[in-house]
Structures are given as C-alpha cells and as structure tokens.
C-alpha cells in the first residue's frame, strides 16, 4: 500500500512541473480547483470524523476541541 502511494506521489511530482504564467492560471483559480472547496462544510465534516474515528490531522490548524461522545 505504502509503495503504491509513494510511486503515485512521485509520479505526480515528476510529471512535467511546467511554468504557468499568472495569466494562464484561470483554471487553477476556479472555485472547484480550490484545495478547500467549501472550508466551512469541510470543517463540519472533519468535526464528525474526528469524533467517530481515532485519526485526525488536516492541512492547517484544526479548530477547538469538543467533548464528543
């Protein structure tokens, strides 16, 4: 599993990291290309997962804790 993931990530990184000029970044600036498409909704989802699963950790700082049952 780890090997597959490593190969996948390595391939992505090595795949033509071409220079993209600022005026060529229209597609990358689309809402649906955002890393957090809807940060609030994502936050609510993460809150649920964190309260029902042992793993946690996201790209950035998490919010405050809760005494979730």
């Amino acid at each position: 599993m780890k090997a597959i993931i490593t190969i996948l990530l390595g391939t992505l990184l090595l795949s033509a990291c071409t220079t993209v000029e600022p005026w060529e970044r229209g597609i990358l600036a689309r809402d649906d290309m955002a890393l957090d498409f809807d940060a609030s909704m994502s936050g609510l989802q993460q809150q649920v997962y964190i309260s029902k699963e042992a793993a946690s950790g996201s790209a950035g700082l998490g919010g405050g804790g809760c005494g979730c049952n």
Binding site: E21, L35, F37, L44
Partner: protein, 406 residues
C-alpha cells in the same frame, strides 16, 4: 507602429486578465485579502443508526443526533491588505452513547448503552455546545500571516485555542510554503463525577505543528503535501466510559500523553473537455498509542449549465487498534491502561456523498448528503473481534452564502 500598438494591447489584456484572476483558493496559498463582505449560514443534521438488537445488551437502541447551526462572516479588516473570518456555531446533541462492552452468554461482545439503568438515566445526553472561531489574515506581497483563536463551551467541557500560520509564495507564485503552530487547552467537568468514579475537574492540552507545500504542476493541476505533528498531554480518558473486567466495571484508563503524526496530500486536476475537476485527498496517520490509519477521499466536481453543479464523492477510512484497546476481560486487565471505546478498535469505514450547488448573482446554495458505514469487514487488516458499538450514520447539510460585492 501598428505592430507596437498591437503588442501593447495584447500585453495590457494579459496583465488585466492576470490582475482580474481571483486568488487561488485553499488553505495553503498566500492568496490575497477579501475585498467584499460575504456571509453564510450552514445547517447540518447528523443522525446515527440504531444499535442492532443482536449487538445490544441493555439500554436504548437509539443513538446520537446532532443539529448544527453555523454562521460565517468574512470581510476586509481595518488595516489595508487584511481580512477577518468569523465562525459562530451552535449545536444541540441528544441520544445515548456506548457505555461499555460485555460478553453475552456465548462470549460474543454486546454493547451496554448509557441510560441502561434507571440510575444512569442522566447519561441520556441532552446538551448543547456553542463555539466561536476567528482568523485574522494579514497580507504583504507574497507573504501571509494568520492569527487564529477559538472558544468552545459545553456543560461539561470547555476548550480554548490559539494559533499562528505563515505562508510565502516562491517561484513566481508557482510554489507556496506554509507553516503553523497551535495550542489548545481543554477543561473537563464530568457530570455525576462521583457516580462515574471521577474527579470533578480534569485538564488536558494539545500543541500542534504543521508545514505544507503547494505546487502548481501545470495549467490544469496542483498538488499539496503537508505534515502535521501534535502532542496531547493530561487527562485523555473518556470520563463516561467503563471496561468490563469480569467481576467489576473499571473506568476508562488511557495514557496521559499522545503524540500524533499525519502526512497529507491533496491533488486537484481539471478535465477541460468535461468541465469537471477531480479531487484526490489522502492521509496517512499514526500515533504513540499504536494506531495507524489510511484515509482516501475522491470527489468529482461536475459543472452543469445555468449555475448548477453536482459533486459525488466517496471516502475510505481504515485504522488499527490502540495498544490498550480491550473490549472486555474475564480475568482482569493485562496492564493499568485499558479502554473499550469503539473509536480505538480496529475497523474500516466507507462513506458516499452527493452535493448539489446552485449559484446565481451573489447567492450560492448547497445541499449535501453523506452516508457512512463502518465495520470490521471494511478493514484492510484482519479483525479478530468486531466492536459492537461501531457506528453507521448519515448527515444532511444545507448552506446559503451571499457575497455583497457581486
């Protein structure tokens, strides 16, 4: 002359186009300050499926329901090149949660729910939580500095959080590096503390560090890699859970320190002929309690005509058990650390979601549904004994957003 004028016109058009582009979204880009005020309201209804009768020893089969209301505001701040984000949240929670696991007559684990006896009726949860989160972003050229803070309060739990994030763009904005540090302090005041063999007050705190790199790969794709490390110290047991040890029930007992490490990757790829964006998120997690986990989420953002968009998604999750996880024991625990919490048991889960968006003018509406199933059958590894308290749930969410500048 004519050629020069044409070149100037082309250059001006390109510059205008580049200036008109909105800042790249997402947490890891330095981006630009908000120029307009935007407000949104989110509602979420979370509902857990009942415990099947074959897995229930005593107590009600109904589990947890949570209703969440959240209001978000984002606006330019007093200083130039700055903005502020505020999130206010109100939650109501009701229902029952797993209390402990015991063997049935055949030695099969079954769950005892809170409220199983009349003296435990107060463990039928019926409470609320309020929280406020803020984030002040300061921008200076390719740099961004963010200050975060948060406060959350429930009847038996209080949490205070603060953090600092910095981001810088390199390589003509093709690469963004980001780092952050955060601190959370929690206070627990267990209800009916003596009845649950607990003190009336406990504390714990968590320190978090993270770093991330976002790279534009080409005109259609970008990739983010990040690492997250955190350490929790203090009382980390669940004050309301017990472990069945043959002749007695012992309070949940966990280590007072937990170190957590997560490696995350997020990939975005736009398929131009289909006017669709593919999102691939993966996380590897492990901690000092012996848990390791993999999470993979795939989403397909399909743009339709007239401002409609539809986004199906699927998420897979897997975790191993904590070293001290013990569903029950006839003869006593192997050490002084033990917990029968299903969240520390080995399991896998799979969930599917569907989101529909509609945009017109400055308004944006969204409706989202997710169904989550968990169990030993979804685990990557062999599971000897499935925890009977593992949960299936569904979440229905809706949101409305308005941007005053459009």
């Amino acid at each position: 002359m004519a050629v020069t004028e044409k070149n100037n016109t082309t250059l001006s058009a390109l510059m205008a186009a580049s200036l008109a582009l909105p800042a790249l979204g997402g947490a890891a880009q330095a981006a630009e300050p908000a120029t307009d005020v935007s407000a949104s309201y989110h509602f979420s209804h979370y509902h857990e499926n009942s415990v099947p009768s074959s897995k229930l020893a005593r107590g009600g089969s109904e589990r947890y329901t949570v209703k969440t209301h959240q209001v978000d505001l984002k606006a330019p701040f007093l200083f130039t090149d700055s903005d502020i984000e505020l999130a206010l949240q109100h939650e109501t929670m009701s229902g029952a949660s797993p209390w402990y696991i015991e063997p049935d007559l055949n030695g099969k684990p079954v769950v005892v729910m809170s409220g199983a006896t009349s003296s435990q009726s107060k463990r039928l949860i019926n409470e609320e939580r309020n929280s406020i989160q803020s984030k002040l972003n300061l921008y200076r050229g390719p740099h961004r500095l963010s200050l975060t803070s948060g406060y959350s309060k429930e009847k038996d739990y209080r949490s205070i959080q603060a953090g600092l994030e910095v981001a810088k763009e390199f390589n003509q904005g093709m690469t963004t590096l980001e780092a952050g540090a955060g601190f959370t302090n929690n206070t627990l005041n267990p209800t009916d503390a003596k009845k649950y063999q607990r003190k009336s007050r406990y504390h714990n705190h968590e320190t978090s560090l993270y770093g991330g790199l976002t790279q534009i790969l080409n005109r259609h794709s970008l990739l983010q890699l990040s690492v997250n490390y955190s350490q929790e110290n203090g009382f980390l047991s669940d004050p309301y859970k017990f472990v069945y040890l043959g002749t007695k029930l012992a309070p949940d007992s966990r280590p007072e320190r937990r170190r957590k490490f997560a490696l995350l990757s997020r990939y975005r790829y736009y398929i131009e002929p289909l006017d669709a964006a593919v999102h691939v998120d993966y996380r590897f997690f492990r901690d000092s309690w012996g848990i390791h986990s993999n999470t993979l989420k795939l989403a397909w953002h399909q743009t339709l005509s007239h401002g409609w968009k539809i986004t199906p998604s699927i998420r897979y999750y897997d975790q191993s058990q904590a070293d001290f996880y013990l569903p029950f024991s006839y003869i006593g625990p192997p050490s002084n650390l033990y917990s029968s919490d299903y969240r520390l048991s080995p399991f896998g889960s799979i969930s599917g979601g569907l989101r529909i968006d509609k945009t017109f003018g400055g308004w944006q509406f969204a409706l989202m549904y997710e169904y989550y199933r968990s169990g030993a059958r979804y685990s990557l590894n062999h599971v000897d004994v499935e925890d009977p308290a593992l949960v299936d749930f569904q979440v229905l969410s809706a949101s409305i957003n308005y941007s005053f500048g459009q």
